[in-house]
Assembly symmetry: C2
Homo-oligomer: 354 residues x 2
């Protein structure tokens, strides 16, 4: 039996499949099905807007990323951006660029992952667009949130003497990705340059494939929505950013935006035992890998020591994720990692297109 | 001399190239360079949101669409959606999915076309994202506008007895596209199915190539921003939609959303002389082609005869584009085209993925 592809269905049927999954709250004045969506804003709030795309062969590979993880990640990376601003997520727009040969089951699975995460965080998918793709599948999401003035978290704002903190654990996603690649014999962002979109477009991985531990963390990152909101509302953070491109990159960006230096304490980094073990088996340094690895979608933030009560408040109500102090903000503009063997310069973060 | 590609520059340099072109008004609290953009909303307004992508090989072809037209169209199609809602455009987010081999001159040209149109309509590009593409160039834009409650234009709202109107002329873009294809020996949306991204990625077309008339209309559609705003503010329209997928499609959509029928008067369609001539030379019926052709980005709207004063007001202040009555809304749910030879059923509109 040949699988059904989306070109068998047509654009309108695909849109109907999406809208059938959506419920509109009362503040959505016009939902999907018109030229644009119309929504009320909460009085006294600012609007927070971000957009990020997941591209087949660059950000995911059908060979080891199941359809629902594609949809989950496409929304998660955007919710993580909103969290980093201290915003409450409210709505999302979904722009899909779809190959004709895309399996309907992949389309449905992708939608399922996205809608499930949206529901978890009270996000309404208010509109979107479907285009054909002569190449890879692209899932582009715009997320809209709200935040009160003076509760906005920015990359700028860290001051000398502030503590540097991170939520959850770092470096999991990199190990999860490598582990999935090893098990599935597939590569993303091949050093040869041109990432290859998978030929497959099939439902993958197979049903027997059960991702575990760090693999789950890579496939289904949990954006720190509640933590970000609480950091903003409690005015507990002086600066904040998410770890989309890795810890080293985030440290560098916050320091640059705030015109300060940052010293990271290597021994303080919250690295999961599984992750440490994995790197040691590969003869790699867990600290260096945790600094370098991206896709963790934890929050890096800075906080004033004199306002530890505010931070305690966030820890009490912020959910299960740990908050770990990993360093401090310095007046001199250097970026260093303190290790038992002495100080080392912060490694370069990951930069796209290089 | 080998042309520079964007992979020679790196992601950060590309972002700097974009932000250098942007000016932020005071209502943008956080612009590009943080995890998300933050903006104030106008008190008492609703937010209007839309997203639409331009995909190489599907919506444009480097062989006959110059880089600045790619950027122009990517924003124009979204501003047209806002206009159709009666909204005032305010901001845009830009999500770029870029092949490594993209020429820097194409990138700059694309940006130039987009920024120029944004400036013309007072739209601030407040944020965005750059991803790598293993396939086609994708320019995905989210546009944000504002509108007062009870000034929102929707597809629903047309009532029996209302007149049906269209702005400007219809069918230009289809002729422009065909003319460009004929002159450049290139095809888009080839009937063979898979649209081919151009191998080129070069600056095209060559400098000697000067698009004219309908070609200009295809390459640089002018969204009816002012007209849409005025139709909303004057409460002159009972329903409204833009002609992105052609006149027949818009008639069908407005009728379906409003639970009415629509009768179009074939002889009333505003078709440019050049366009009529072109079709006659091809032995095609200008009316049928004008109903079918997409990409015009004019507005279709309905208005009550008893409120002709409101419409006159819009005509007076709406700029140079004509407003032409092309038919009327009927109680019976039929969709027909009235011709001197008798009534005919409205032809099917263009549907993607079929």
């Amino acid at each position: 039996v040949q699988n059904r592809t989306i070109s068998d269905l047509g654009e309108r049927a695909l849109i109907d499949r999406i809208t059938a999954r959506l419920a509109m709250p009362s503040w959505v004045v016009v939902g999907p099905g018109d030229d644009a969506a119309v929504m009320e804003t909460e009085r006294g709030t600012l609007q927070v807007l971000t957009t990020d795309a997941q591209v087949e062969g660059v950000h995911f590979d059908h060979r080891f990323v199941p359809p629902d993880a594609i949809g989950h990640r496409a929304l998660a990376v955007n919710l993580s951006d909103l969290a980093a601003m201290g915003a409450t997520p409210r709505a999302a727009l979904l722009s899909l660029v779809l190959p004709d040969a895309l399996d309907v089951a992949v389309f449905d699975g992708m939608l399922d992952g996205l809608v499930t995460l949206a529901a978890k965080h009270g996000v309404s998918v208010v509109g979107g667009n479907i285009s054909r793709s002569p190449g890879p599948l692209v899932v582009d999401v715009t997320a809209i949130g709200s935040v009160r003035p003076r509760r906005v978290l920015r990359r700028a704002g860290a001051r000398p003497g502030d503590g540097v903190y991170v939520t959850g654990t770092v470096g999991d996603a990199l190990v999860g990705l490598r582990s999935l690649q090893a098990r599935c014999g597939a590569g993303l962002n091949d050093p040869s340059g041109a990432a290859q979109p998978s030929d497959g477009l099939r439902v993958a991985p197979s049903e027997e494939f059960v991702p575990h531990g760090s693999e789950q963390r890579y496939l289904y990152p949990q954006p720190r929505v509640r933590m970000g909101m609480l950091l903003g509302r409690n005015r507990a953070a002086t600066a904040c950013m998410d770890l989309s491109d890795g810890l080293a990159d985030a440290v560098r960006q916050v320091a640059a935006a705030s015109h300060v230096g940052i010293a990271i304490d290597a021994d303080a980094l919250p690295i999961a035992d599984e992750v440490r073990r994995w790197h040691r088996e590969q003869n790699a340094d867990p600290t260096a890998m945790a600094l370098h690895g991206g896709d963790d979608y934890e929050l890096l933030f800075t906080a004033r020591p004199s306002q530890s009560g505010r931070l305690r408040n966030v820890k009490t109500h912020g959910g299960s994720a740990a908050i770990t102090k990993i360093g401090e903000v310095t007046r001199d503009r250097r970026l260093i990692v303190r290790t038992p063997a002495g100080d080392a310069p912060l490694p370069e973060g990951f930069e796209h297109f290089r």
